[in-house]
Amino acid sequence: MKNRLRVLRAERQWSQQDLADRLDVSRQSVNAIETGKYDPSLPLAFRIADVFALTIEDIFLRDPEEQAAQ
């Protein structure tokens, strides 16, 4: 699953650690989500959306291949 986390974080000039502190997770978690190595659970996705004051759909995007398969 693709996401806009890195862009949204850069817009706010937050480091990965800044975002991690706001989400109460490790910096490694933020890095893994940003790089697409890990997809967050729904509760964490909602927390991320709350931190950026956006909806989950504004942050996380379905892979085109995944969408085409459905």
């Binding site: 997770v25 893994a32 190595k37 890990y38």
Partner: protein, 141 residues
């Protein structure tokens, strides 16, 4: 730089529990060497004392399970589970392969307490596997 593991309460509990289990393990091993090997302790007390170092490994598995349960960060929890799976796979595979080698081939006997020791080594291998595939080691070594 202080590790994130050392800062979190669940991680501090993990380290304290590991240290306690290691003290019990080394203490009971030392006691068994002196009392059973050197002084000839026998009977039920000797059996109990001889079992304690092995039971320390049960503590180790319980401690690892508690770390997974108590960890609040879901990504780190995933890394710990992956480490445990790598370690379990390595240790049980090594035990099975060596068991058959001992059955059919003239290889030296390996004491059974080495298999859980290999599991502990496997936790380290799991951390490397996590680092390579997920970009983070998991901090649990």
């Amino acid at each position: 730089m202080k590790s994130a593991l050392a800062k979190k309460p669940e991680a501090r509990r993990y380290l304290l529990r590991i240290a306690t289990a290691m003290v019990i393990y080394l203490g009971s091993l030392f006691a068994a060497e002196i009392l059973i090997e050197d002084r000839g302790l026998s009977g039920a007390p000797a059996y109990v004392l001889a079992a304690v170092p092995g039971l320390s490994f049960a503590a180790l598995f319980w401690i690892f399970a508690r770390l997974i349960v108590e960890e609040r960060d879901e990504f780190l929890r995933l890394l710990y589970v992956r480490q445990g799976m790598v370690a379990t796979g390595l240790a049980l595979t090594a035990a099975a392969v060596w068991g058959f080698l001992e059955t059919y081939m003239p290889v030296p006997h390996v004491e059974a307490f080495w298999w859980p020791t290999i599991w502990c080594f496997g936790i380290g291998v799991g951390a490397i596997y996590n680092k390579v595939t997920m970009g983070a080691a998991g901090e649990c070594m």
